[in-house]
Symmetry: C3
Subunit: 354 residues, 3 copies
């Protein structure tokens, strides 16, 4: 089932399921206190993430083996998770540890699935694929978010579209026209593209042609001095299944801004996703300035995202109305990311792919 699609085939990208053999964030760490459990989801699979009193986290299928009651409505007892309905207990591997009222003669029923689970960068990551592969698949590198030179801004929003629309949206910067009210008149210049095993990248320079723009637009594209700004380069990279947008001065080693995103499918048909983002902003030289500007920056980022969401959700609706992909794509960068997503994803079942 997990064979990747072949590039160049006529697979309908909107039916390509995301590859589960990666680490996906399902929640923020602060949402899960000690001795608590929360409900996450990945592509139609409900997943309960629990934290023992020791602080350790573990993840189980969020349906009791008995009567499918959500384990996320249960209670944590030591390193076990107890169903809130008839009090069946599970260990961290999903095995049934106790059925309080069952006699010893009862042969223990099948337990529930467990998921590899890791905590890093203030987030709870789950590996929904083949657990044997979890060890050798690294977490995404989000070290910038821990750096004292940067301040991270977190986003988590449900977006009602297939994850592929998100990748294409960001990769094709000609969509700046969508943000004309926030960014003014912009002419994006494609500086170059690159691709490799599992990734596609495009570099842009933005020419501002005038028009009123949101103050946050200026701030985010400015890496430091005005001169440096003049040579800003924006790099968009899909490194499957993640995506980054990095703005750097031409001669600067450290980016002024980096956005890291992942679009985690929620439903089984993968027509909705939870878009997680971390926007890592390099602190200006004036101490405390980043805090003063934070509300403005957040307003700008939210406003841009709201426009993108409107666009990608309109694309999904049109797809559903037609029952198929009628895109006429002409932009090489977008074509490259489409091929990548097909190659790395899980091809749809033959009977549904037509």
């Amino acid at each position: 089932m997990n064979q990747p699609g072949k590039p160049g085939t006529a697979a309908d990208l909107r039916k390509v399921r995301i590859n589960p053999d990666f680490w996906y964030p399902l929640a923020r760490s602060h949402q899960l206190g000690k001795g608590k459990v929360l409900a996450g989801t990945f592509a139609g699979q409900p997943i309960a993430i629990a934290r023992a009193e020791t602080g350790k986290v573990f993840a189980l299928e969020d349906r009791c083996a008995h009567r499918q009651f959500p384990l996320s409505l249960g209670t944590v007892c030591g390193e076990r998770l107890q169903c809130g309905y008839h009090a069946w207990r599970y260990d961290r591997h999903g095995r049934i540890a106790a059925i309080p009222y069952a006699g010893p003669a009862t042969s223990p029923p099948t337990g529930v699935r467990s998921y590899p689970c890791r905590e890093a960068y203030g987030s709870l990551f789950v590996f929904p694929g083949n657990p044997e592969r979890a060890e050798r698949i690294p977490l995404p590198d989000l070290s910038l978010s821990d750096s004292p030179d940067y301040k991270p801004m977190y986003f988590s929003r449900q977006v009602n579209c297939h994850y592929s629309f998100m990748h294409e949206n960001l990769m094709d910067m000609n969509h700046q026209f969508l943000h004309r009210r926030l960014m003014g008149r912009v002419r994006p210049e494609l500086l170059g593209t690159a691709e490799g095993d599992g990734w596609v990248e495009a570099k842009y320079h933005f020419h501002h042609l005038g028009g009123r723009r949101h103050l946050g637009s200026d701030l985010l594209s400015a890496g430091g001095s005005r001169a440096e700004k003049h040579y800003d380069v924006m790099t968009i990279r899909t490194e499957y299944p993640y995506q980054t947008l990095t703005i750097s001065g031409r001669d600067s080693e450290f980016p002024s801004v980096r956005l890291w995103c992942v679009y985690v499918p929620k439903d089984g048909a993968e027509k909705t996703n939870q878009s997680f983002g971390i926007l890592m902003i390099r602190k200006p030289r004036i101490p405390g300035m980043v805090y003063a500007l934070w509300p403005l920056l957040r307003h700008f980022a939210e406003a841009v995202f709201a426009e993108d969401r409107m666009a990608v959700e309109a694309e999904q609706r049109a797809y559903d109305e037609w029952g198929g992909d009628r895109n006429q794509e002409v932009y090489p960068v977008t074509l490259a990311v489409r091929e990548l997503l097909i190659a790395q994803g899980i091809a749809p079942e033959p009977d549904t792919s037509g």
Copy 2:
């Protein structure tokens, strides 16, 4: 169509339709004044219940034979029900009595179905099955609700699940863990089970192990003196299609509490039900005390029911997500009631039962 399923077969219980050859309450008497009509429903069948000026009630299919306008939006004229759209008139047997504007040459079209209808215990009962069987099928015995020693509390709530989840929920008292916030720590002891033609019964004694509990929990389990309470026995009985829960002191002839329930399917797929309940509470010896305590008792009963509803609706959702029953039931009482519901219900059509 009405052949009961065979016990022991692999029938999917959640697709077994309820047997319509019983009396089902669709409304309370006080909801239907003289010369009025109301809308009820049974398993996808809309049913209009009308009361003539004489007080007599009758029930018709709630769709005019002409253009399917709901007859419950019409008017009562003597012992006839008149459609509110083009004024066609029906007698109490569903026959067309008049089409005001049609010439005498018009051959009278087919009328609508009528349902046997009876009023008792302050409720309006309808017999949705084969009307020829209605005469020899008795109404449920709710005489306790009329006794001066008891005060009845009525419930009517839509619950979005197949009726079978309701029976299983009540029958398996190990689900007290669900009510831990209201009832404290309870260890239910199964005293014994019994079954017969059309019924299954289980007797429990509850050991309270401590923990804070709702005051209503104490009141409802107390039949009189504290000593008597110590020996309280709870009897759960599914007597198809009804269910009762009775709490009695060991030596007491009269129960301190009896709950009578029926779960009337609303939609054609029987995935929602209207849960009707009458909680009959024996009045304490101090006159008037029951009225003083009533708000507290109702709050407790509603809170327990809200937790049960949450659980059974989660079960239905999990069933729908999986497209089948994945329960791993180990409790003999629950297994017995499942078999009863299959044996007494209507087996699903072959093409849908798989």
Copy 3:
């Protein structure tokens, strides 16, 4: 695909699609300023209607050929419509005029469909059928709405039913019983019927038998003097795909009231329609009186329409629950309009018509 159904066949009228080879109003003129664009819809087809700065209107498929983003969210540039996502430009014929970022080597992709579009009587009409036929199909005659002797009242409401229920509702005046609270007791007398190529007509006289009625009911049926009113004749006419209701005194050349209606399907299944209506009311002899009475007249008209909507939506629900038409129609006028709608409409595909 556009062959009309044959009269007398067993076609399910509720699956007969409306004939697109007519002019349908999708919006009012005042809703579309210069340099603006709005979103309309016809039977599941989204249609963007744009107005150039010159005032000229044109209509395009409301989905960009690139990624199906709604063109109605774009901007008007001269006589072109520019997509709001990646700024592709379309001329008034739907041809792609420019892709700002594409090199000259890019072969221009297929554009989008354009629709004949006309502005008249303060409304924007679109011809959704074969554009070659648009020239010889006239707009509906709404000249009364422009006459100084009449004042028009406009209606536009979504009604969740197939358009055929609307025609039948109006044509069968025996449904006055539905409006008994607004119109009192009325006995409609059918004076006669007529039919021809593409139309059916029925003439009624109303006998008022008493009962309280809305003041607006009196006003609208009164063409002038009380004596004239006594001989009011109401003519209902379906002239495919439009419908009119005209009230005239027996000897009067000019009607006191004319209602013109069209029921434009919104969704692809044509189970919802946008009901557009123009109620043209002859001004009373006292100058300004019509303005004083306007709020009362509007209240009455809205109240009548609300009752009709409730009825036709109940009919659609019953149809959907049964998966077919179970009407037992006995009224010749209704039977005639049904046959007309089948003959003029588009027969359903064989596999869905059963």
